[in-house]
């Protein structure tokens, strides 16, 4: 009887000891400024290098089997490719014109100055943060902004490891970003996980036709990318201060394409 009663207690002792051991780990990690917890993800790569046969061997093998008939058919194929390349060249020039016309209406004046590195969501953790592919292996840095396929900012990189990064979005309660409007008024946008709150930091000239709040290089962002469309929210200037709260409706989904702009 006594043995049966004391059995669970003994089981718990080891559990409690390991809980204390884990709290020691927290202390060590805290005083080492997260050096321990970030050591493995910063050095570990999830990319696999596959050994591919050198194409020269295959080419030399193929050359033995090449006959005259094959050469003729190859010639015809090449002719067709040249034709398709010409049509592609025409399409390319029309697309270039389109890009120039988009640049005229966009906040970004020259897309050629940016490399847009495509990334994708891997998983979402319990703190509503997202793990995205790519890290220091793709030259990502802490604070890099992340855009959706419509060009709007959806968040920024909070922590960058070797082959993946942690993305902070509007859904996270730690989200905070400094923004500008076209009159160079400064704002702070923060989230509590449910609502976004906008507060002014420095108002120089206030006008109602702000339209967009965007990121800026003065806050170490890579350029002017829109974050909030102010035409859909109400805010007023009271005592030279702007304070407003609003819901975010257009949040991305798991299959949204994400891009990280890096200036060349």
């Amino acid at each position: 009887m006594l043995e049966a009663q004391s059995k669970p207690k003994r089981s718990y002792v080891l559990y409690i000891l390991f809980i204390f051991l884990s709290s020691l780990l927290i202390l060590v990690d805290y005083f080492s400024n997260k050096e321990i917890s970030s050591y493995i993800p910063k050095s570990l790569t999830f990319e696999f290098n596959l050994n591919v046969f050198e194409s020269t061997y295959i080419d030399s093998f193929n050359s033995l089997l090449t006959s005259r008939a094959e050469l003729v058919s190859e010639n015809i194929r090449l002719e067709q490719e040249v034709k398709s390349l010409r049509s592609l060249e025409i399409e390319n020039s029309s697309l270039k014109e389109k890009i120039e016309s988009f640049e005229n209406i966009s906040l970004i004046k020259n897309f050629n100055n940016f490399n847009f590195i495509e990334t994708s969501l891997i998983i979402k953790n319990s703190s509503n943060e997202f793990l995205i592919s790519g890290g220091t292996n793709q030259n990502f840095q802490n604070g890099d902004i992340v855009l959706d396929d419509a060009g709007y900012v959806v968040g920024y990189l909070r922590e960058v490891f070797y082959s993946y990064s942690i993305l902070e979005t509007f859904l996270s309660q730690n989200f905070k970003i400094q923004l500008l409007d076209k009159y160079n008024n400064e704002y702070l946008l923060s989230s509590d996980g449910n609502e976004l709150s906008l507060s002014s930091i420095n108002i120089l000239t206030f006008n109602t036709d702000i339209d967009f709040l965007y990121t800026d290089i003065s806050y170490n962002h890579s350029g002017k990318f829109p974050v909030v469309d102010t035409r859909s929210i109400n805010f007023q200037l009271v005592n030279n201060q702007i304070n407003s709260s609003f819901n975010f409706s257009n949040i991305f989904t798991f299959n949204t394409k994400l891009f990280i702009p890096k200036s060349k």
């Binding site: 559990y15 997260k34 998983i123 319990s126 703190s127």
Partner: protein
């Protein structure tokens, strides 16, 4: 044999934890969080509670802290171990009443989500998630014919 048991459990726990995070990415709802890992922890703590489970649980917690979150090393290890002990302790010590299992499940789900307790919509998220995850537990219980 013991090492194989520990390793198998550790790999199984880790896979379920990664599946949990991946599922939540697909579901993509800020009011709902599906937690198969918590359900697994609940089942293990009720039916197979032993010291042998410490290493798999601790290892999974460390995996979560290192790779899947930006917390300090050991935060989720404590949470997982605490949840495991708490579930078993409540099941052993609490007097029997009609909704004892639901009560234990709900209370421990809150402990499981302690790192996010400051979140604005914690109450609404947790309430809905407890309901959905309890249904998941009932489904697994019926499929596996568990007696808890």
């Amino acid at each position: 044999m013991n090492i194989i048991y520990l390793l198998t459990n550790f790999i199984f726990f880790s896979i379920i934890l990664i599946v949990e995070n991946f599922l939540n990415l697909i579901v993509f709802n800020k009011y709902l969080s599906i937690s198969p890992f918590f359900v697994l922890l609940f089942i293990f703590s009720l039916t197979r509670f032993s010291n042998k489970n410490i290493f798999p649980i601790m290892g999974t917690g460390l995996i979560y802290d290192i790779f899947l979150s930006e917390n300090y090393l050991g935060v989720y290890t404590i949470v997982f171990l605490l949840v495991s002990v708490s579930i078993n302790y409540m099941q052993e010590k609490l007097v029997d009443f009609n909704f004892k299992l639901v009560f234990i499940f709900g209370l421990n789900y809150i402990i499981y989500n302690i790192p996010n307790i400051l979140s604005f919509n914690f109450v609404s998220t947790t309430t809905l998630s407890i309901f959905v995850n309890y249904l998941l537990f009932l489904l697994i219980k019926r499929v596996m014919r568990l007696r808890v």
